[in-house]
Symmetry: C2
């Protein structure tokens, strides 16, 4: 069993409206020191395999095909064997 953690974030050059909204809400709640809020996704998944090299290839394929929209999002992942 390999545990994979995937982080998907909006590219720096792309506007993040959800981050802008959260920043506005934080400011109106008195957290005026907050700047540059960016919101992404965090995914945990278990892979029923023990081959770490193959698992890495598979996780990369999942990110490219489904988990991230690579036009506007970046992704990175970590594997725990």
């Amino acid at each position: 069993m390999i545990k994979a953690t995937v982080y998907v974030t909006i590219k720096q050059s792309v506007l993040d409206p959800q981050g802008v909204a959260v920043q506005g809400a934080l400011h109106s709640m008195g957290f005026g020191e907050v700047e540059n809020v960016r919101i992404g996704k965090y995914m945990e998944l278990n892979l029923d395999t023990t081959d770490a090299a193959a698992a890495e290839e598979r996780v990369k394929a999942m990110c490219e095909k489904l988990l991230a929209n690579t036009v506007i999002e970046d992704y990175r992942y970590e594997l725990e064997v």
Copy 2:
């Protein structure tokens, strides 16, 4: 400037319908080895301060008040000074 990274995840005892949907999609795309998908949020924010102890208190307050719904979600955060 302190950089904070916040991870918000659904509690283990709470059903994660988004994770179930993603797992189903991955299975139907041929990634049958994937199990137990859980999806959370990943937030990056900058704090315009240099006091790390105060920043930690502030980030904790933001999580409790806005960023996480502590009834069904857990949160953790990291600070980079």
